[in-house]
């Protein structure tokens, strides 16, 4: 176990290295700035609480992605009771109402709305593969599944986004 001043140093290093990564992962999973910030804070506290139990069996970033993904999934499950995330019009309206959304590019907004309607695990896999360019092995660790399942999730996610964008009927922009 590290000494207190060393622990603070380690936390600063962790925050400096991973804050943006965790935030953007959470933001792409949830869409709303405030929700992403909540998840970022929860994730960081979880990391600090369990860092002594980290065994270095996987990479640190995979472990952090796993904690962050679990926090996002828990948050989505909680939010489902309040907001219907399957309703694409509702998702789009929520994105448009947010202070921290760039509304200038309709296509970009449409793609994000489509991503936000994916089932949470598919969404996580798609984001990690497409935006973070993570290898499937690392994605599998992060979502707690197999490499094959991660590949299948990515394929289904892509197909679903394609359908939503090309038909356009589900998206009212």
């Amino acid at each position: 176990m590290l000494l207190p001043h060393k622990r603070e140093e380690a936390m600063r290093l962790l925050a400096k290295t991973y804050t943006e990564t965790i935030y953007w992962h959470a933001r792409r999973m949830l869409g709303i700035h405030e929700d992403a910030e909540d998840v970022l804070q929860e994730t960081f506290i979880r990391i600090v609480k369990s860092i002594d139990q980290f065994k270095w069996e996987s990479s640190l970033s995979s472990w952090i992605y796993r904690i962050s993904t679990n926090e996002c999934l828990r948050y989505i499950e909680d939010r489902k009771k309040r907001i219907n995330a399957d309703d694409i019009e509702g998702v789009t309206r929520t994105l448009q109402a947010s202070e921290y959304t760039d509304l200038s590019d309709t296509l970009v907004l449409r793609i994000q709305a489509a991503i936000l309607t994916l089932p949470p695990k598919q969404r996580a896999v798609f984001n990690m593969r497409y935006y973070d360019e993570m290898p499937y092995e690392q994605i599998a660790v992060a979502v707690g599944s197999t490499v094959t399942a991660a590949k299948m999730n990515y394929h289904h996610a892509k197909e679903r986004i394609k359908t939503l964008i090309l038909t356009g009927s589900d998206l009212s922009m």
Binding site: P4, R7, E8, M11, R12, A15, K16, T19, E20, Y23, W24, R27, R28, G31, H33, E37, L40, Q41, F44, I45, V48, K49, L95, Y100, T101, D102, L103, D105, L107, V108, L109, I111, Q112, Y130, Y131, K158, I161, K162, I165, L166
Partner: protein, 122 residues
């Protein structure tokens, strides 16, 4: 579809406030330090699980003081009381009884002598 993704690239519509990451990093570290201190103090409590807890020590201390006080009270109550030897008491009673008999006998004897004197006078 691929063309759409190629056109959009990795662009997202998400914005963040100015200097957001600097500020949030500071806040995360200060929150984490508080959590870490709480966790460390919990660990210390967990490590001393084999030692008696402070609360139990207090109970042991109070119960020993109470026991000593009870013993002292008993000693205090019992010390002024004179111990009675049953043999001595019996002996004393017997002595009194004997004295009473002899006094009675003497009284009877005196009465008899007085009566004898009166009889002899006649």
């Amino acid at each position: 579809m691929e063309q759409i993704f190629n056109k959009v690239g990795k662009k997202t519509p998400y914005l963040v406030p100015d200097n957001y990451f600097e500020q949030i990093s500071e806040r995360l570290v200060s929150d984490a330090m508080l959590t870490d201190k709480a966790c460390l103090s919990e660990d210390k409590t967990a490590l001393s699980v084999n030692k008696p807890k402070r609360r139990n020590l207090k109970i042991y201390w109070y119960s020993s003081v109470a026991s000593v006080a009870a013993i002292l009270l008993c000693v205090f109550l019992l010390t002024p009381m004179k111990k009675v030897n049953p043999h001595e008491e019996y002996a004393a009673t017997l002595n009194d009884y004997c004295n009473a008999i002899s006094e009675a006998e003497q009284a009877d004897e005196a009465t008899m002598l007085a009566e004898l004197d009166i009889f002899l006078q006649y």
